[in-house]
Protein backbone atom coordinates (compact mmCIF):
# COMPACT_ATOMS: atom_id res chain seq x y z
CA UNK A 1 0.00 0.00 0.00
CA UNK A 2 2.07 2.86 -1.33
CA UNK A 3 5.02 2.16 0.92
CA UNK A 4 7.33 4.31 -1.07
CA UNK A 5 5.87 7.69 -0.18
CA UNK A 6 8.42 9.89 1.56
CA UNK A 7 6.28 10.43 4.67
CA UNK A 8 6.09 6.71 5.20
CA UNK A 9 9.81 6.25 4.70
CA UNK A 10 10.73 9.00 7.07
CA UNK A 11 8.18 7.95 9.67
CA UNK A 12 9.64 4.44 9.75
CA UNK A 13 12.67 5.90 11.45
CA UNK A 14 10.59 6.36 14.57
CA UNK A 15 10.69 3.11 16.45
CA UNK A 16 11.28 1.48 19.76
CA UNK A 17 14.91 0.85 20.53
CA UNK A 18 15.94 -2.76 20.95
CA UNK A 19 16.17 -2.29 24.67
CA UNK A 20 12.74 -0.70 24.85
CA UNK A 21 11.26 -3.43 22.72
CA UNK A 22 12.78 -6.16 24.85
CA UNK A 23 11.81 -4.51 28.13
CA UNK A 24 8.20 -4.19 27.10
CA UNK A 25 8.18 -7.76 25.87
CA UNK A 26 9.46 -9.04 29.20
CA UNK A 27 6.85 -7.11 31.02
CA UNK A 28 4.13 -8.51 28.81
CA UNK A 29 5.36 -12.04 29.47
CA UNK A 30 5.13 -11.33 33.17
CA UNK A 31 1.65 -9.96 32.66
CA UNK A 32 0.58 -13.04 30.73
CA UNK A 33 1.92 -15.29 33.44
CA UNK A 34 -0.03 -13.52 36.13
CA UNK A 35 -3.28 -13.28 34.20
CA UNK A 36 -4.39 -16.82 33.54
CA UNK A 37 -7.73 -17.93 32.14
CA UNK A 38 -10.61 -16.11 33.84
CA UNK A 39 -12.33 -18.87 35.77
CA UNK A 40 -9.15 -19.70 37.66
CA UNK A 41 -8.09 -16.23 38.67
CA UNK A 42 -9.52 -14.53 41.77
CA UNK A 43 -11.88 -11.69 41.01
CA UNK A 44 -10.47 -8.24 41.53
CA UNK A 45 -12.49 -6.04 43.86
CA UNK A 46 -14.36 -3.10 42.35
CA UNK A 47 -12.02 -0.41 43.57
CA UNK A 48 -8.99 -2.02 41.95
CA UNK A 49 -10.37 -2.07 38.45
CA UNK A 50 -8.88 1.17 37.20
CA UNK A 51 -7.12 1.22 33.85
CA UNK A 52 -3.68 1.55 35.32
CA UNK A 53 -4.14 -1.09 37.96
CA UNK A 54 -2.78 -3.76 35.71
CA UNK A 55 0.26 -5.36 37.10
CA UNK A 56 0.58 -8.13 39.57
CA UNK A 57 4.13 -8.95 38.68
CA UNK A 58 6.31 -10.47 41.33
CA UNK A 59 9.83 -9.06 41.08
CA UNK A 60 12.49 -8.48 43.70
CA UNK A 61 13.45 -6.04 46.36
CA UNK A 62 15.86 -3.46 45.06
CA UNK A 63 17.41 -5.85 42.66
CA UNK A 64 18.17 -5.88 38.99
CA UNK A 65 15.33 -6.59 36.79
CA UNK A 66 16.36 -9.93 35.46
CA UNK A 67 16.08 -11.46 38.90
CA UNK A 68 12.52 -10.32 39.02
CA UNK A 69 11.57 -12.71 36.30
CA UNK A 70 13.59 -15.57 37.68
CA UNK A 71 11.58 -15.31 40.83
CA UNK A 72 8.41 -14.83 38.93
CA UNK A 73 8.79 -18.07 37.07
CA UNK A 74 9.97 -19.89 40.16
CA UNK A 75 7.11 -18.89 42.38
CA UNK A 76 4.36 -18.45 39.85
CA UNK A 77 1.74 -15.79 39.38
CA UNK A 78 -0.73 -16.99 41.97
CA UNK A 79 1.24 -15.70 44.92
CA UNK A 80 1.65 -12.24 43.49
CA UNK A 81 -2.05 -12.10 42.79
CA UNK A 82 -2.82 -13.04 46.37
CA UNK A 83 -0.35 -10.47 47.60
CA UNK A 84 -2.30 -7.72 45.92
CA UNK A 85 -5.09 -7.99 48.45
CA UNK A 86 -2.89 -8.36 51.48
CA UNK A 87 -2.84 -5.97 54.39
CA UNK A 88 0.01 -4.81 56.60
CA UNK A 89 0.88 -7.52 59.07
CA UNK A 90 -0.01 -10.33 56.69
CA UNK A 91 2.63 -12.63 55.29
CA UNK A 92 2.44 -11.58 51.67
CA UNK A 93 2.30 -7.85 52.36
CA UNK A 94 6.05 -7.31 51.77
CA UNK A 95 5.57 -8.91 48.35
CA UNK A 96 2.89 -6.38 47.58
CA UNK A 97 4.77 -3.23 48.59
CA UNK A 98 8.39 -4.11 47.99
CA UNK A 99 7.99 -6.24 44.93
CA UNK A 100 4.75 -5.87 43.01
CA UNK A 101 4.56 -2.14 43.47
CA UNK A 102 8.25 -1.54 42.80
CA UNK A 103 8.15 -3.34 39.50
CA UNK A 104 5.06 -1.47 38.48
CA UNK A 105 6.94 1.72 39.32
CA UNK A 106 9.90 0.68 37.20
CA UNK A 107 7.64 0.29 34.22
CA UNK A 108 5.93 3.65 34.43
CA UNK A 109 7.68 5.37 31.55
CA UNK A 110 6.29 8.85 31.34
CA UNK A 111 6.27 11.42 34.11
CA UNK A 112 2.53 11.26 34.10
CA UNK A 113 2.48 7.50 34.57
CA UNK A 114 4.91 7.91 37.45
CA UNK A 115 2.72 10.47 39.15
CA UNK A 116 -0.35 8.33 38.65
CA UNK A 117 1.32 5.30 40.17
CA UNK A 118 2.76 7.15 43.18
CA UNK A 119 -0.68 8.65 43.85
CA UNK A 120 -2.16 5.17 43.53
CA UNK A 121 0.39 3.82 46.02
CA UNK A 122 -0.44 6.60 48.48
CA UNK A 123 -4.13 5.75 48.12
CA UNK A 124 -3.38 2.07 48.63
CA UNK A 125 -1.76 2.79 51.97
CA UNK A 126 -4.83 4.70 53.06
CA UNK A 127 -7.12 1.96 51.81
CA UNK A 128 -5.16 -0.54 53.87
CA UNK A 129 -5.44 1.66 56.95
CA UNK A 130 -9.17 1.96 56.41
CA UNK A 131 -9.64 -1.75 56.02
CA UNK A 132 -7.68 -2.41 59.21
CA UNK A 133 -9.56 0.29 61.11
CA UNK A 134 -12.85 -1.07 59.94
CA UNK A 135 -11.91 -4.51 61.25
CA UNK A 136 -10.96 -2.94 64.55
CA UNK A 137 -7.31 -3.98 64.11
CA UNK A 138 -5.53 -1.01 65.60
CA UNK A 139 -1.86 -1.87 65.96
CA UNK A 140 0.07 1.34 66.64
CA UNK A 141 3.25 0.13 64.97
CA UNK A 142 1.43 -1.02 61.86
CA UNK A 143 -0.27 2.34 61.54
CA UNK A 144 3.02 4.14 62.06
CA UNK A 145 4.53 2.18 59.19
CA UNK A 146 1.56 2.89 56.96
CA UNK A 147 1.92 6.56 57.76
CA UNK A 148 5.60 6.53 56.89
CA UNK A 149 5.09 4.85 53.55
CA UNK A 150 2.16 7.07 52.75
CA UNK A 151 4.21 10.18 53.45
CA UNK A 152 6.95 9.01 51.09
CA UNK A 153 4.54 8.48 48.21
CA UNK A 154 2.71 11.74 48.87
CA UNK A 155 5.98 13.63 48.81
CA UNK A 156 6.97 12.01 45.52
CA UNK A 157 3.66 13.03 44.00
CA UNK A 158 4.14 16.59 45.16
CA UNK A 159 7.69 16.69 43.87
CA UNK A 160 6.85 15.32 40.44
CA UNK A 161 3.89 17.61 40.00
CA UNK A 162 6.04 20.57 40.90
CA UNK A 163 8.68 19.47 38.40
CA UNK A 164 6.03 19.11 35.74
CA UNK A 165 4.78 22.59 36.50
CA UNK A 166 8.29 24.02 36.22
CA UNK A 167 8.63 22.46 32.81
CA UNK A 168 5.63 24.45 31.67
CA UNK A 169 3.13 21.61 31.60
CA UNK A 170 0.90 23.56 33.96
CA UNK A 171 -2.35 22.13 32.61
CA UNK A 172 -1.48 18.50 33.24
CA UNK A 173 0.25 19.33 36.52
CA UNK A 174 -2.82 21.23 37.75
CA UNK A 175 -4.98 18.30 36.76
CA UNK A 176 -2.93 15.80 38.73
CA UNK A 177 -2.71 18.11 41.68
CA UNK A 178 -6.48 18.36 41.74
CA UNK A 179 -6.84 14.61 41.37
CA UNK A 180 -4.50 13.94 44.26
CA UNK A 181 -6.13 16.61 46.39
CA UNK A 182 -9.58 15.10 46.08
CA UNK A 183 -8.27 11.58 46.68
CA UNK A 184 -6.73 12.75 49.95
CA UNK A 185 -9.84 14.67 50.85
CA UNK A 186 -12.04 11.63 50.39
CA UNK A 187 -9.70 9.46 52.43
CA UNK A 188 -9.52 12.10 55.12
CA UNK A 189 -13.28 11.89 55.53
CA UNK A 190 -13.30 8.12 55.47
CA UNK A 191 -10.51 7.85 58.00
CA UNK A 192 -12.10 10.32 60.34
CA UNK A 193 -15.26 8.22 60.28
CA UNK A 194 -13.18 5.26 61.36
CA UNK A 195 -11.19 7.41 63.76
CA UNK A 196 -9.43 6.09 66.74
CA UNK A 197 -6.39 7.33 68.58
CA UNK A 198 -4.17 5.06 66.55
CA UNK A 199 -5.26 6.63 63.30
CA UNK A 200 -4.88 10.22 64.43
CA UNK A 201 -1.26 10.60 63.28
CA UNK A 202 -2.14 9.21 59.91
CA UNK A 203 -5.14 11.49 59.70
CA UNK A 204 -2.98 14.52 60.46
CA UNK A 205 -0.55 13.44 57.76
CA UNK A 206 -3.35 13.02 55.23
CA UNK A 207 -4.74 16.43 56.10
CA UNK A 208 -1.35 18.10 55.79
CA UNK A 209 -0.66 16.52 52.45
CA UNK A 210 -4.11 17.49 51.28
CA UNK A 211 -3.46 21.11 52.21
CA UNK A 212 -0.18 20.96 50.33
CA UNK A 213 -1.84 19.48 47.27
CA UNK A 214 -4.56 22.10 47.47
CA UNK A 215 -2.03 24.96 47.61
CA UNK A 216 -0.08 23.41 44.80
CA UNK A 217 -3.21 23.13 42.73
CA UNK A 218 -4.18 26.74 43.35
CA UNK A 219 -0.72 27.93 42.40
CA UNK A 220 -0.79 25.93 39.19
CA UNK A 221 -4.27 27.17 38.36
CA UNK A 222 -3.00 30.73 38.72
CA UNK A 223 -0.04 29.88 36.54
CA UNK A 224 -2.20 28.46 33.81
CA UNK A 225 -3.36 31.93 32.82
CA UNK A 226 0.17 32.49 31.49
CA UNK A 227 0.13 29.32 29.46
CA UNK A 228 -0.45 29.94 25.73
CA UNK A 229 -2.45 26.73 25.53
CA UNK A 230 -4.88 27.78 28.26
CA UNK A 231 -7.91 27.58 26.00
CA UNK A 232 -7.06 24.07 24.90
CA UNK A 233 -6.46 23.11 28.50
CA UNK A 234 -9.87 24.44 29.52
CA UNK A 235 -11.57 22.64 26.64
CA UNK A 236 -9.82 19.43 27.53
CA UNK A 237 -10.87 19.73 31.11
CA UNK A 238 -14.46 20.36 30.10
CA UNK A 239 -14.47 17.19 28.03
CA UNK A 240 -12.97 15.25 30.90
CA UNK A 241 -15.43 16.47 33.52
CA UNK A 242 -18.41 15.77 31.29
CA UNK A 243 -17.16 12.20 30.93
CA UNK A 244 -16.60 12.04 34.65
CA UNK A 245 -20.17 13.05 35.44
CA UNK A 246 -21.49 10.40 33.06
CA UNK A 247 -19.20 7.81 34.64
CA UNK A 248 -20.24 8.82 38.15
CA UNK A 249 -23.94 8.60 37.29
CA UNK A 250 -23.46 5.12 35.84
CA UNK A 251 -21.60 4.08 38.96
CA UNK A 252 -24.40 5.31 41.19
CA UNK A 253 -26.96 3.52 39.09
CA UNK A 254 -25.13 0.23 39.43
CA UNK A 255 -24.58 0.67 43.15
CA UNK A 256 -27.91 2.22 44.08
CA UNK A 257 -29.11 -1.07 45.52
CA UNK A 258 -26.21 -1.29 47.91
CA UNK A 259 -26.09 2.40 48.70
CA UNK A 260 -29.76 2.90 49.41
CA UNK A 261 -32.06 5.67 48.31
CA UNK A 262 -30.92 8.33 50.73
CA UNK A 263 -27.25 8.10 49.89
CA UNK A 264 -27.89 7.80 46.18
CA UNK A 265 -30.00 10.94 46.31
CA UNK A 266 -27.25 12.78 48.19
CA UNK A 267 -24.69 11.71 45.67
CA UNK A 268 -26.90 12.79 42.78
CA UNK A 269 -27.27 16.14 44.49
CA UNK A 270 -23.51 16.48 44.64
CA UNK A 271 -23.30 15.73 40.93
CA UNK A 272 -25.82 18.48 40.38
CA UNK A 273 -23.55 20.89 42.23
CA UNK A 274 -20.75 19.76 39.95
CA UNK A 275 -22.91 20.38 36.91
CA UNK A 276 -23.70 23.87 38.16
CA UNK A 277 -19.99 24.56 38.34
CA UNK A 278 -19.62 23.25 34.80
CA UNK A 279 -22.34 25.59 33.59
CA UNK A 280 -20.60 28.49 35.27
CA UNK A 281 -17.36 27.42 33.65
CA UNK A 282 -18.94 27.35 30.23
CA UNK A 283 -20.10 30.92 30.69
CA UNK A 284 -16.52 31.87 31.48
CA UNK A 285 -15.36 30.06 28.37
CA UNK A 286 -17.76 32.08 26.26
CA UNK A 287 -16.43 35.22 27.89
CA UNK A 288 -12.91 34.16 26.99
CA UNK A 289 -11.92 33.74 30.63
CA UNK A 290 -10.20 30.40 30.07
CA UNK A 291 -8.13 30.24 33.23
CA UNK A 292 -11.20 30.83 35.35
CA UNK A 293 -13.14 28.26 33.33
CA UNK A 294 -10.34 25.76 33.87
CA UNK A 295 -10.46 26.38 37.59
CA UNK A 296 -14.23 25.82 37.69
CA UNK A 297 -14.02 22.62 35.63
CA UNK A 298 -11.36 21.33 38.01
CA UNK A 299 -13.60 22.13 40.93
CA UNK A 300 -16.53 20.35 39.30
CA UNK A 301 -14.27 17.35 38.72
CA UNK A 302 -13.29 17.27 42.35
CA UNK A 303 -16.89 17.40 43.52
CA UNK A 304 -17.91 14.56 41.23
CA UNK A 305 -14.83 12.53 42.02
CA UNK A 306 -15.28 12.94 45.75
CA UNK A 307 -18.89 11.84 45.59
CA UNK A 308 -17.87 8.75 43.66
CA UNK A 309 -14.94 7.90 45.91
CA UNK A 310 -17.03 8.26 49.05
CA UNK A 311 -19.87 6.21 47.61
CA UNK A 312 -17.39 3.49 46.63
CA UNK A 313 -15.93 3.57 50.13
CA UNK A 314 -19.36 3.19 51.64
CA UNK A 315 -19.92 0.07 49.61
CA UNK A 316 -16.45 -1.31 50.24
CA UNK A 317 -16.29 -0.63 53.97
CA UNK A 318 -20.00 -0.87 54.77
CA UNK A 319 -19.85 2.57 56.26
CA UNK A 320 -22.03 5.67 56.25
CA UNK A 321 -20.44 8.93 55.29
CA UNK A 322 -22.19 12.24 54.90
CA UNK A 323 -22.07 13.33 51.29
CA UNK A 324 -24.13 16.42 51.91
CA UNK A 325 -21.57 18.86 53.18
CA UNK A 326 -18.90 20.49 51.10
CA UNK A 327 -15.65 21.12 52.94
CA UNK A 328 -14.31 23.14 50.05
CA UNK A 329 -17.29 25.46 49.78
CA UNK A 330 -17.23 26.04 53.50
CA UNK A 331 -13.57 26.95 53.16
CA UNK A 332 -14.21 29.33 50.29
CA UNK A 333 -16.97 31.10 52.16
CA UNK A 334 -14.58 31.40 55.07
CA UNK A 335 -12.04 33.10 52.85
CA UNK A 336 -14.53 35.72 51.82
CA UNK A 337 -14.73 36.97 55.35
CA UNK A 338 -12.06 39.12 56.94
CA UNK A 339 -10.54 36.69 59.39
CA UNK A 340 -10.47 33.98 56.76
CA UNK A 341 -8.17 31.45 58.39
CA UNK A 342 -9.85 31.59 61.73
CA UNK A 343 -13.23 30.83 60.24
CA UNK A 344 -11.80 27.80 58.43
CA UNK A 345 -10.38 26.50 61.68
CA UNK A 346 -13.64 27.03 63.45
CA UNK A 347 -15.83 25.14 61.02
CA UNK A 348 -13.27 22.36 60.82
CA UNK A 349 -13.18 22.06 64.57
CA UNK A 350 -16.94 22.07 64.78
CA UNK A 351 -17.19 19.07 62.52
CA UNK A 352 -14.50 17.28 64.43
CA UNK A 353 -16.25 17.98 67.70
CA UNK A 354 -19.42 16.47 66.27
CA UNK A 355 -17.52 13.39 65.16
CA UNK A 356 -16.04 12.90 68.58
CA UNK A 357 -19.36 13.28 70.29
CA UNK A 358 -20.79 10.53 68.13
CA UNK A 359 -17.75 8.35 68.67
CA UNK A 360 -17.92 8.53 72.43
CA UNK A 361 -21.51 7.32 72.26
CA UNK A 362 -19.87 4.09 71.23
CA UNK A 363 -21.72 3.70 67.98
CA UNK A 364 -19.66 2.55 65.02
CA UNK A 365 -22.18 2.94 62.23
CA UNK A 366 -23.98 6.21 62.56
CA UNK A 367 -25.95 7.91 59.90
CA UNK A 368 -25.41 11.65 59.92
CA UNK A 369 -28.25 14.00 59.37
CA UNK A 370 -28.46 14.13 55.61
CA UNK A 371 -29.57 17.19 53.75
CA UNK A 372 -27.67 19.70 55.85
Amino acid sequence: MSNRNPIFQEAQKVRLSEAEHAAMRSKLIAFIKTHPVRDMAPRRPLWQRSPFYLFNVKPQFVMPFILAFVILFAVGGGASFAAENSLPGEMLYPVKVNINEEVHAAFAFSQEAKIEWEAERAARRLNEAEQLAQRGEFDAEVFAQIEQRFAVHAERVRFRIEAMGSRGETGVAAQWSSHFEVSLQAHERILSRLAGEETSDLLVSVRENKETASSQREELEEGIAENPQVQAAAEGRLGAIENKIAEARKFLERQSGRLGEGVTADAQARLQVAEDAIAEGKTKMDAGEFAEAFRLFQKAHRIAQEAQLLAAAMVRLDLDIDLGSDQEEAEEEGEEQDDADESKEESGDENEAQDLRFETNGNAHLRFEIGR
Binding site: N5, F8, V14, L16, R25, H35, R38, Q175, G236
Partner: protein, 167 residues
Protein backbone atom coordinates in the same frame (compact mmCIF):
# COMPACT_ATOMS: atom_id res chain seq x y z
CA UNK B 1 4.09 -21.55 26.99
CA UNK B 2 0.64 -22.15 25.59
CA UNK B 3 -0.40 -21.63 22.02
CA UNK B 4 -2.31 -18.48 22.92
CA UNK B 5 0.68 -17.02 24.68
CA UNK B 6 2.91 -17.78 21.72
CA UNK B 7 0.50 -16.22 19.27
CA UNK B 8 0.07 -13.18 21.45
CA UNK B 9 3.82 -12.64 21.70
CA UNK B 10 4.13 -13.10 17.97
CA UNK B 11 1.60 -10.33 17.56
CA UNK B 12 3.74 -8.20 19.84
CA UNK B 13 6.88 -8.87 17.85
CA UNK B 14 5.05 -8.07 14.66
CA UNK B 15 3.07 -4.99 15.60
CA UNK B 16 4.64 -3.30 18.62
CA UNK B 17 6.85 -0.99 16.58
CA UNK B 18 4.07 0.00 14.22
CA UNK B 19 1.70 0.68 17.08
CA UNK B 20 4.35 2.74 18.81
CA UNK B 21 4.82 4.74 15.65
CA UNK B 22 1.10 5.21 15.33
CA UNK B 23 0.71 6.45 18.90
CA UNK B 24 3.76 8.64 18.63
CA UNK B 25 2.59 10.47 15.55
CA UNK B 26 -0.73 11.11 17.12
CA UNK B 27 0.17 12.23 20.60
CA UNK B 28 3.70 13.54 20.01
CA UNK B 29 5.02 12.19 23.28
CA UNK B 30 7.45 9.32 23.17
CA UNK B 31 7.09 8.22 26.75
CA UNK B 32 3.32 8.36 26.74
CA UNK B 33 3.34 6.49 23.44
CA UNK B 34 5.21 3.66 25.14
CA UNK B 35 2.67 3.60 27.96
CA UNK B 36 -0.15 3.40 25.46
CA UNK B 37 1.40 0.58 23.46
CA UNK B 38 1.89 -1.38 26.62
CA UNK B 39 -1.68 -0.78 27.65
CA UNK B 40 -2.88 -1.80 24.18
CA UNK B 41 -1.27 -5.19 24.55
CA UNK B 42 -2.29 -5.82 28.14
CA UNK B 43 -5.87 -4.85 27.38
CA UNK B 44 -5.84 -7.17 24.40
CA UNK B 45 -4.51 -10.01 26.52
CA UNK B 46 -7.25 -9.46 29.09
CA UNK B 47 -9.80 -9.60 26.31
CA UNK B 48 -8.38 -12.91 25.13
CA UNK B 49 -8.26 -14.29 28.62
CA UNK B 50 -11.94 -13.50 28.98
CA UNK B 51 -12.50 -16.16 26.36
CA UNK B 52 -13.37 -13.69 23.62
CA UNK B 53 -12.22 -14.28 20.08
CA UNK B 54 -10.13 -11.92 18.03
CA UNK B 55 -10.49 -12.56 14.32
CA UNK B 56 -8.11 -9.95 13.01
CA UNK B 57 -5.36 -9.25 15.52
CA UNK B 58 -3.89 -6.31 13.70
CA UNK B 59 -7.22 -4.51 13.35
CA UNK B 60 -8.07 -5.26 16.96
CA UNK B 61 -4.79 -3.90 18.25
CA UNK B 62 -5.21 -0.72 16.23
CA UNK B 63 -8.74 -0.33 17.50
CA UNK B 64 -7.64 -0.58 21.12
CA UNK B 65 -4.74 1.76 20.45
CA UNK B 66 -6.85 4.33 18.68
CA UNK B 67 -9.31 4.43 21.57
CA UNK B 68 -6.50 4.92 24.04
CA UNK B 69 -5.13 7.71 21.89
CA UNK B 70 -8.53 9.39 21.84
CA UNK B 71 -8.69 9.24 25.64
CA UNK B 72 -5.20 10.67 25.78
CA UNK B 73 -6.02 13.46 23.36
CA UNK B 74 -8.88 14.54 25.62
CA UNK B 75 -6.31 15.66 28.11
CA UNK B 76 -5.15 18.16 25.48
CA UNK B 77 -1.61 18.64 26.62
CA UNK B 78 0.38 21.40 24.99
CA UNK B 79 2.54 20.17 22.15
CA UNK B 80 6.03 21.48 22.37
CA UNK B 81 7.87 21.30 19.12
CA UNK B 82 11.02 22.39 20.89
CA UNK B 83 10.88 19.24 22.95
CA UNK B 84 10.74 17.25 19.75
CA UNK B 85 14.17 18.43 18.78
CA UNK B 86 15.61 16.64 21.76
CA UNK B 87 14.12 13.37 20.63
CA UNK B 88 16.34 10.68 19.21
CA UNK B 89 15.20 9.23 15.96
CA UNK B 90 14.72 12.70 14.59
CA UNK B 91 17.26 14.29 12.41
CA UNK B 92 16.00 17.68 11.33
CA UNK B 93 18.31 17.45 8.37
CA UNK B 94 20.46 20.50 8.30
CA UNK B 95 21.81 19.61 4.92
CA UNK B 96 20.96 22.66 2.79
CA UNK B 97 20.71 20.51 -0.28
CA UNK B 98 18.02 18.43 1.35
CA UNK B 99 16.13 21.52 2.34
CA UNK B 100 16.07 23.04 -1.06
CA UNK B 101 14.74 19.80 -2.40
CA UNK B 102 11.89 20.01 0.12
CA UNK B 103 12.69 16.68 1.69
CA UNK B 104 10.09 15.85 4.25
CA UNK B 105 11.62 15.12 7.61
CA UNK B 106 9.94 13.62 10.61
CA UNK B 107 9.80 16.87 12.52
CA UNK B 108 7.99 18.50 9.65
CA UNK B 109 5.59 15.61 9.47
CA UNK B 110 4.76 15.98 13.10
CA UNK B 111 4.39 19.71 12.91
CA UNK B 112 1.92 19.40 10.06
CA UNK B 113 0.08 16.54 11.69
CA UNK B 114 -0.32 18.49 14.87
CA UNK B 115 -2.29 21.08 12.96
CA UNK B 116 -4.86 18.62 11.77
CA UNK B 117 -7.99 17.97 13.71
CA UNK B 118 -8.10 14.57 15.47
CA UNK B 119 -10.35 12.85 12.92
CA UNK B 120 -8.16 13.82 10.03
CA UNK B 121 -4.99 13.04 11.88
CA UNK B 122 -6.27 9.59 12.73
CA UNK B 123 -6.80 8.54 9.14
CA UNK B 124 -3.66 10.18 7.81
CA UNK B 125 -1.48 8.40 10.35
CA UNK B 126 -3.17 5.09 9.65
CA UNK B 127 -2.84 5.46 5.90
CA UNK B 128 0.51 7.09 5.40
CA UNK B 129 2.45 6.06 8.47
CA UNK B 130 0.98 2.72 9.38
CA UNK B 131 0.48 1.83 5.74
CA UNK B 132 -3.05 0.55 6.25
CA UNK B 133 -5.46 0.42 3.35
CA UNK B 134 -8.82 2.25 3.41
CA UNK B 135 -10.67 -1.01 3.86
CA UNK B 136 -8.67 -1.94 6.94
CA UNK B 137 -9.00 1.54 8.37
CA UNK B 138 -12.74 1.32 7.86
CA UNK B 139 -12.81 -1.95 9.75
CA UNK B 140 -10.77 -0.57 12.61
CA UNK B 141 -12.84 2.56 13.00
CA UNK B 142 -16.15 0.87 12.39
CA UNK B 143 -16.97 3.19 9.49
CA UNK B 144 -17.77 2.55 5.86
CA UNK B 145 -14.96 2.49 3.36
CA UNK B 146 -16.56 5.43 1.63
CA UNK B 147 -16.56 7.57 4.75
CA UNK B 148 -12.90 6.79 5.27
CA UNK B 149 -11.97 7.66 1.70
CA UNK B 150 -13.80 10.96 1.90
CA UNK B 151 -12.15 11.78 5.20
CA UNK B 152 -8.73 10.90 3.83
CA UNK B 153 -9.32 13.06 0.81
CA UNK B 154 -10.30 16.03 2.97
CA UNK B 155 -7.36 15.45 5.28
CA UNK B 156 -4.90 15.44 2.39
CA UNK B 157 -6.45 18.60 1.01
CA UNK B 158 -6.06 20.22 4.38
CA UNK B 159 -2.46 19.05 4.63
CA UNK B 160 -1.75 20.34 1.17
CA UNK B 161 -3.10 23.76 2.04
CA UNK B 162 -1.00 23.78 5.21
CA UNK B 163 2.14 22.86 3.30
CA UNK B 164 1.64 25.39 0.54
CA UNK B 165 0.85 28.10 3.07
CA UNK B 166 4.30 27.66 4.53
CA UNK B 167 6.30 27.64 1.34
Amino acid sequence: MSIHEREFLNAYDQYADALFRHCYFRIHDRERAKDLVQETFTKTWEYLVDGKEVKNMRAFLYRVATNLVIDEARKKKPISLDLLQEEKGFDPGHDPLERTQHMIDAKTIVSYLSRLDPHHKEVVVMRYIDGLGPKEIAKILGETENTVSVRLHRAIQRLRSLVTAYE
